[in-house]
Symmetry: C2
């Protein structure tokens, strides 16, 4: 009995002194970030002095230089570029759509629209009747009516989904593949309801992909208010629409991931990556998407250097290129990791905005997850917990190369994200300083814990 008690005591004291050490260091990082954090000022520079950063744009180039310069100033062991050919889509002009007739009578009513990323221009003004459908099921049922029409998908966001990314997942399929699904039956263009929760009329762009089997018809997203009006009109009568877009591709373009590194002192070939993506759409400042992830990443580097933290494992701070319409940066990072035989034990991305963090999502084996979950109590003072299931577009390729890599994501509160995601409203003014900094606190904490204790159960 005494032996067992003593053993228990030893274990408990051991655990609690470790936990106390960790809790104190995390508090030091939090205090440093909340007091002296530079994430907000860096975000100001990125959004206001550089601006929108579509892959292939001059601003995209400037952002990479800016990222390298600023990370170098923070004093990691090295900062380097990873160059690769990136997608180079151009919007090409001011997208246009207007109702021109209802039930045979002339009626001019321009709509707020944005062409979808990667969609091709309409080659001049097209005019056609609108076929409005609620979803793909209705499209299939009415496929004989599609030929020569502009199909409008009423891909409205489900407001009852409290986790807004679930609604995005459901409706997002219309943005990504609606054009080819309709082109298959002879549509000449498509329109979708913007993937948005906002009580406004700003249209939201985002990437789409053509199925090479069908014509590359123009595709636009309509602002929420106009979309609802259009659906109501087209369900009752015959709506005639004019539409013009200008999208095209330039030749692929050399662009760059920016990678900063602090070498591990004990396990230098165990890599921990954290990152966000530098590119944004052309129509906004990419403040939440993903300026926030970029400056989160830089802030974690800053706080580790400010507190003179010497990691056991090699930590990589990565600003990815070309996430929005190609994932070329993420793929290149994984390719290089494979070429260089790097053992990536964990990667975390911040790409859900700079809102108050709610959890760190982690995709790992059950056994490893148990270990991570026990760290929830260390994150709780900063509003977070560890939950199962993390992801990030740019770090997904790492897991395809090595399925053992733990893939994690910062999960901020998601209520406001789709108000501004891919719309002109994603600007610096809509980012809150404390919410942004608090994201960096929780990322710093989880990176620290993985660095200290690894990912083995």
């Amino acid at each position: 009995m005494r032996v067992i008690s003593t053993l228990c005591l030893t274990v408990l004291v051991g655990f609690s002194s470790i936990a106390q050490k960790d809790s104190l260091f995390i508090k030091r990082m939090s205090d440093e970030i909340m007091t002296n954090g530079k994430a907000y000022d860096l975000l100001y520079e990125l959004t206001k002095k550089i601006g929108g950063r579509l892959a292939g744009s001059p601003q995209g180039q400037q952002a990479a230089e800016w990222g390298k310069r600023n990370m170098e100033a923070l004093g990691p062991d090295r900062v380097f570029f990873q160059s690769h050919k990136m997608m180079n889509w151009k919007r090409g002009g001011t997208d246009f759509a207007s109702i021109v007739g209802v039930n045979g009578e002339s009626r001019i009513q321009p709509l707020a629209v944005l062409a979808l990323g990667n969609s091709m221009g309409s080659n001049g003004m097209i005019e056609a009747e609108v076929l409005a459908v609620a979803n793909f099921d209705e499209l299939e049922k009415r496929k004989d009516e599609v030929k020569g029409k502009i199909v409008y998908f009423h891909s409205v966001f489900d407001p009852t989904k409290i986790q807004t990314f679930r609604a995005y997942g459901e409706s997002g399929v219309y943005r990504r593949s609606g054009a080819s699904r309709a082109a298959k039956y002879g549509a000449v263009g498509i329109m979708i309801h913007s993937l948005s929760t906002a009580p406004d009329n700003a249209p939201h762009t985002g990437s789409m992909v053509y199925d090479p089997a069908y014509p590359k018809i123009p595709a636009v997203a309509v602002g929420p208010d106009d979309a609802k009006m259009l659906y109501a009109l087209a369900k009752k009568g015959k709506v005639q629409m004019q539409m013009q877009t200008y999208g095209y591709f330039l030749p692929e373009f050399e662009d760059r991931n920016v990678v900063a590194e602090i070498k591990g002192s004990e396990f230098p070939n165990e890599y921990i990556t954290l990152g966000g993506h530098l590119d944004s759409w052309d129509v906004n400042e990419g403040a939440h998407d993903d300026g926030a992830g970029v400056v989160h990443t830089m802030e974690v580097l800053r706080v580790m250097k400010a507190l003179n933290y010497k990691p056991k494992r090699t930590i990589r701070f990565v600003l990815f290129a070309n996430e929005e319409n190609g994932v070329r940066g993420g793929n290149e990072y994984a390719n290089q990791a494979k070429l260089n035989n790097e053992n990536h034990i964990m990667a975390l991305e911040s790409d859900e905005g700079g809102f108050t963090p709610r959890s760190i999502g982690m995709t790992a084996s059950k056994e490893a997850f148990k270990k991570f979950q026990a760290w929830s109590s260390l994150l709780k003072p900063y509003g977070c917990e560890v939950t199962f299931g993390g992801s990030g577009t740019d770090i997904g390729p790492l897991a395809r190369i090595n399925p053992a890599t733990v893939i994690a994501g910062l999960v901020p509160d998601s209520q406001r994200y789709f108000d501004l995601h891919h719309a002109k409203t994603d600007v610096f003014e809509n980012v809150n300083k404390r919410e942004l900094l608090l994201g960096a606190v929780n990322i710093a904490a989880i990176i620290y814990l993985v660095d200290q204790y690894g990912v083995n159960p």
Copy 2:
């Protein structure tokens, strides 16, 4: 063994079918609120069509009429006013402060300031040297230097407090009692650092109280940027300041709580109150403070009527008057409850803004709290849990009359609240629709659960 198993099974099935019924009804309320909620539109009316609503102002009167009319339209069993004499403070003019000299040299530098609520005007322009102190300790140490000076308290918000209300609690004492603490030693005026987390320069007002033993000297809050500049200047040298304020009281004024009621079908004398306060400061629209609480309250009434919910207990939906600078509405509500022998089993206030809800805080006996805590799993899909310790300025008086009353508060995410609290930036544009509605969902859920199961352990 079999008997025990059967018993367990019965209990489990019993519990799970109750939980399932509750979970389904809460989901119905959530879907109704997130889809058809009127809270955002009502908030627009209150903030944009009525505006700032300081107790005693014409807008305060309009707000009460608006609240009664709109709650009547929702069809509760009755809606009535509770009239009482309210505080009637007036700002009286445009508050002014300016540095006029530094180290004996002329230097004109106006500061962004707002007089504190309930503070008295300066009776013309006053001019004096500034004594800048970090806190009351320093004031006490330097009490001999105070006479004839304007004392500046560097009551800066502690940015490391993740729960911002804790920082508010710490710094708030300078706003509330700084004037008399300094007047005791002969100060002719005080200035404080605005109680704010915002990276801007807007000054934040808020209520203060004079100790009748000392002169009622003028008191202002300085915008965060100017406050930091002033502190740095005054710590290094001699700062000469001019200051003028105009505050005064008009005779107390008849104002009104607005109370809607749905009578309980089983326990009509068990009252459950939820509410927010109608009044705001004069300098903003009172959108988060406390328009949000007002429309949360109205939304819960709306959803209960929309789903034809018949409560077992009597539910009161209360829009309190004169919270900001008097708590006269809250006190009157408690007085009336006592006069009418109403048994108030629970009261909840929403007065921490319309941000994403994080928990329902409940102050109750340990045994009762255990029961409430078990409801956390029912709130989890809506982002909330039940935590210990809820409060609300307007419902506090109920607990003083009957300490058995469970006192609860909606606890939204607190990162943005003190950016705009009592400043001109607390306007409709800074409220997010989904975040606001989600607050109503969680309040509706907890009110429903208390109505169904009472508060006895």
